[in-house]
Symmetry: C2
Subunit: 387 residues, 2 copies
């Protein structure tokens, strides 16, 4: 297998983009990534696109071909493949691109993600998202994602020391970071009070515990490491790519407040990279809800089960703490266009490792990790990147 | 890159399976493939699932995880990834599995495809299928797939010598083959009259020119060629895997009755395998409509443009002709569960190359090809297999 590097990255601003269509969102991110890599479209050998539910959001499937066409690449007949794993679609798109380059089958490969969640055909965003859970055993009986993660939070808070204030501090921290990220949907700092006084969505989760409905797209360009310096002075090496599955339903889990998929993918990623948690300078975790960030920090092995609330309160995970978590603002403040999130995480790490993260730059960052979750943890993708 | 082989294959019967759910359809095919390879589930390293539109058909996304769970593999946390490219989803699932094994990243990989098109949530099969075309420029103005392929047929018949009878003979041949295939949805032989007197769907295409709405699933197991004989005495080698894109809309094509995606993917496959059309003993092409088989035979290079009608009439493409096309019965008689079709094509070639195709066996078949199309040709996957 060949070593693989990221040679370019681009991302649209995230938000409610009522005046931009699904396909144009993608094109914007693709152009930014190609410009960043100094590449022309015809130099691309293949493309992967992560997308969860364009079929239901905009009544469009066959996303790979659509995107190849609207980026002007159809006439080159390059392979373009959609990958779907609910909210982990972006992470899996990145992983497939890594495999394609590592195999030697392709050289220059774009990994992208896109989701258009506002201005949708049916208006049924929440119901479409429930397609990430088990439709027959969860969706049909009324479970929604806030409800499922509320069950995780309730179980967690009954077993481990996590206060309502500590949970709120996850959102406060991510809004602080988002306010320093020009692509973030929410650019406002908030306080613990903002979270605790916000509307109750699914007890104990309140509005500000939840990531929003978002439109956005992100794209990165991969190449064999040995060719990376043809295109950039700052290649970012892919040190590990890991993926794990778990039961799709929450009720079938061994333990509903430990995501075994995160545990398995995290371990595998560290093993592949020959690294440990102490080597990680920053991590983008899948904080679709505040409780999800708490679980992720623990399940990836950064602290013991039950300690992440205290870590958050102590500022360890803050922008200038010893383990910055979600410097981008995370799903909470950046927004969560589900198919794009996994690629946006890579985009953030690439910016940080290149020293281009502006007001949220982590000094001397050399190794970063991404953690992208589908559903309540039935798919998890973990990547480690380094310079 | 490592050489890759198919070490097992399984397929459900295809048809209107009102009493079988989406997930159980898949499980049935998966078990058949594993039994055929003599493998236990825990020996699998990764899984790819081709599926077009479970989001709209059964309101379920996150198919990879669902399938990993319902095949009992969630506790092993193996990576499971859904791939989508409309009706070419199965072909791309196979290709991703080939890349994963070739890369050295995984050893034993299942490539599968599944679609549940009857007993669906919305009843909107035709509209869901239109998601394979361009929703904004084709679907919203009323184009359906029979309509789009009717335009291809009309253009073709205006420019090349193809009679209504020759077109009908594609369906007659495929029903003849399907009547000899125990998994086929239609097991009845038909005559030219059956086709020509059937209801007009979209002029010139009649009911018997169209593949049906079908439930079904198929799965194959891949391994590195060097390990294949641990599992089977009859490994089938993957000689080439090629994929090409084209414009998603028909009106943007250079020529609407030549599928440039088929031309590009076919050429690339022959180049990769170091073979030519003369080496192919049999081919499964994507006959979603009778006209599609005519175009495919030509676009893959088996004859010049305009000659496939005559070839069909002369029996060249018949079961015991010199170039048997769609020995399985094709999409026309086997049925077309869109995500499963590309894998079913591989299943057919594997059976033929092993000499296990019963009443439709091609004597001495050693090299076979599959040709799987998404939409009106915006994605094409071509594979060459050999023993």
């Amino acid at each position: 297998m060949r070593d693989v590097a990221v040679i370019g990255a681009g991302c649209t601003t995230f938000g409610e983009k009522w005046n931009v269509s699904f396909r144009n969102l993608f094109v914007e991110a693709g152009i930014l990534a190609l410009e960043d890599a100094g590449l022309a479209g015809e130099q691309i050998d293949a493309m992967y696109v992560g997308n969860m539910s364009a079929g239901r959001f905009v009544e469009q499937e066959h996303i790979g071909a659509l995107i190849a066409d609207y980026t002007g690449l159809a006439s080159y007949h390059i392979p373009s493949t959609r990958v779907e794993a609910a909210c982990a679609s972006g992470g899996l798109s990145f992983r497939q691109a890594v495999i394609a380059v590592a195999s030697g089958m392709e050289d220059i490969v774009v990994a992208a993600g896109v989701e258009k969640m506002t201005d949708v055909a049916s208006g049924a965003s929440v119901d479409a998202l429930t397609g990430a859970a088990d439709r027959e055993w969860e969706g049909f009986v009324g479970a929604t994602f806030p409800g499922l993660y509320a069950m995780i939070a309730t179980d967690y808070m009954n077993r481990y020391p996590l206060t309502r204030e500590q949970l709120a501090l996850v959102a406060v921290k991510n809004h602080y970071n988002g306010a320093r990220n020009p692509i973030a949907q929410f650019q406002q700092e908030i306080t613990t009070e903002t979270v605790i006084r916000s509307a109750l969505v699914a007890d104990p989760l309140r509005l500000f515990d939840c990531s929003p409905i978002t439109d956005g797209a992100a794209a990165v360009v991969l190449a064999p490491l040995e060719r990376a310096r043809e295109f950039t002075d700052t290649p970012v090496k892919v040190l590990a790519s890991a993926q794990a599955s778990d039961t799709i339903t929450l009720h079938d889990r061994r333990d509903i407040s430990t995501l075994d998929g995160s545990v398995a993918a995290g371990r595998r990623a560290f093993e592949l990279a020959g690294l440990s948690t102490a080597d990680i300078d920053l991590v983008e975790v899948h904080d679709c809800f505040t409780i999800a960030e708490i679980c992720a920090i623990e399940d990836l092995g950064f602290c013991k089960k039950g300690e992440a609330g205290k870590l958050t309160e102590e500022g360890v995970t803050a922008l200038h703490g010893s383990l910055p978590v979600n410097t981008s603002g995370g799903l909470k403040a950046c927004g969560h266009p589900v198919g794009a999130t996994g690629i946006k995480q890579v985009y953030e790490i690439v910016q940080q490792l290149r020293g281009e993260a502006g007001r949220r730059q982590i000094d001397g960052a050399r190794i970063g990790m991404t953690h992208n979750v589908g559903g309540t943890g039935a798919t998890v993708a973990v990547h480690i990147l380094g310079v």
